[in-house]
Amino acid sequence: MADMTVAQIRALITKHKRWDLIFATVGVLALMVGVLTFVALFAGMVMDGAHRLSWDFFVNFPSRRAENAGILSAWVGSTLVMLVTAVTAIPVGVAGAVYLEEYAPRNWMTDIIEINVTNLAGVPSIIYGLLALGLFVYKFGFGQSILSAGLTLALLILPVVIVATREAIRSIPGVIREGAYALGATKWQTTADHILPYSVPGILTGVIIGLARAIGETAPIITIGALTFIAFLPPAPFTGDPPAGAFDWLFAPFTVMPIQMFNWTSRPEAAFHQNAAAAGLVLVVMTLSMNALAIYIRYRLRKKIKW
């Protein structure tokens, strides 16, 4: 170094600064690959499918004739499956997270549960489908029904709900708990009256992201043997074949949006591909707006809360 002239040192600095610039450019380009792919995907589907998006498309059943086909049974199926998923995954997930954060003693049992939740998040979704096929469809005898599908997706998003709830609970300062205990509240009173209400936005974020993932999941539902061509709706409460009950629809055969799209994509005719593009567009808009909502809630949360 000592025998370098000022000019040489300047040249060295310039050279290294140039690397900075080069890398920053490469970074932006890498980011652009992701952005452009998404734009291409979206634009392509709009060009191919947008003209199919009409009122008829939403109220027609799938059909052998591409131009008459619609997604009625698919979106009704998706909605009902999501209902089952939400009703089962949210209470169990939130309760599990509350236990792990507020109640769990530091012992091997807690360690096992924690490691297990982390690992479950990494299990491929199709494995949940196999579990559901063996357990719900055959062992419990639920068949290839809305109930089986909803429970399968509930298992799938359980880790997402647990992790999000734990994070939300963890961000509540200890002072809140100490205040409640100081006034004589029990652990459950503290949890139900303070911890849970304050963590609602965080839980909501996790639940929405989980449901957005569940609504786009195809593999586990195909694995339990969902049919790809359904031209009827599940029975409304009290209208099915006897015995008519309020929950007959739980055991009805069904299809969901991603499966309908898969069915249309795997047909050779281009007309059905346009239907697939339209269904895909609906699906993407649905999941993206759910994700955007979750991101928005989290953003608001970060801005507003000052303990």
């Binding site: 900075d20 599990g96 491929p124 196999l130 694995t223």
Partner: protein, 317 residues
Amino acid sequence: MSSVAPTNTLNPLADHTVSARLAKKTTRHFRERVIEGVLFLCASFSVAITVGIVVILVSESYQLFQHISLFEFLTDNQWTPLFDDAHYGIMVLLSGTVISSLVALAVAIPLGTMIAIYLSEFAPFAVRETAKPFLELLGGVPTIVYGYFALLYVTPALQFFFPGLPGFNLLSAGLVMGIMIIPYVSSVSEDAMRSVPMAMREGSYAMGATRFQTAVRVVTPAAFSGIAAAYILGISRAVGETMIVAVAAGMQPNLTWNPAEPAATITAYIVQVALGDLPHGSIGYQTIFAAGLTLMLLTLFFNVVGHVMKRRYRQVY
């Protein structure tokens, strides 16, 4: 007199309410215990899921291995369980899984790492705050949509450059899968890089290092355990990804190491069988559980490797 008066003023109801309050406390205590029990059950439900997965996969696979030998399963070079001349060589499906995953990782790891370094060390605040949610959205697109994209847009585009490319191939499925995995790799790596303490960067800058030198020689090594975890996550995603390969790679079992050929992955085979209707308890039905078990062991292996690497290279600041 002075000894009685203060007790009464302090606690005038002390004499006749003590037992009632204690009684209330007992029910309260009981209720607390019940609630704790219920919460514990909910938490241990996740363990029940894991146990359920293992029991189902192992028991169904065990029944399959009553009919065929494990040796045959691991070494046969054909996979035709549904034909009269049935062969059960899992290598055939593994090759499809491995090749499509390798293509995906060849896209996702370099791009994801570069995006992570850029967002963590170079990007201005506004760019980072816009790019992160956008990447999350990219990860939220349903995989069937990516499958559609791979089959109907990427494959024709690739055929323009390589005219001989078949309509179903591992290459386009792998490329799109790589794009899908980028957000997972980049966001976990970026979190790891951002948790490297500022003092380390300041030290590096004080020695005259540029941003690039700091990023590559200081921050990346310090965040290595987190970056490794991101790669492992990417690998398990790629191995377990189903719909993209089922749609775009074809479902023909094909023992090949050439990404330009159609082939079935483990996941695509499960989908293919589930789409037909095989009777419950038949050998074909059991093969999908054996395939699932293989997949499960594969992801488990990567998770264990990731765990070990995390332990080993964790930096304590």
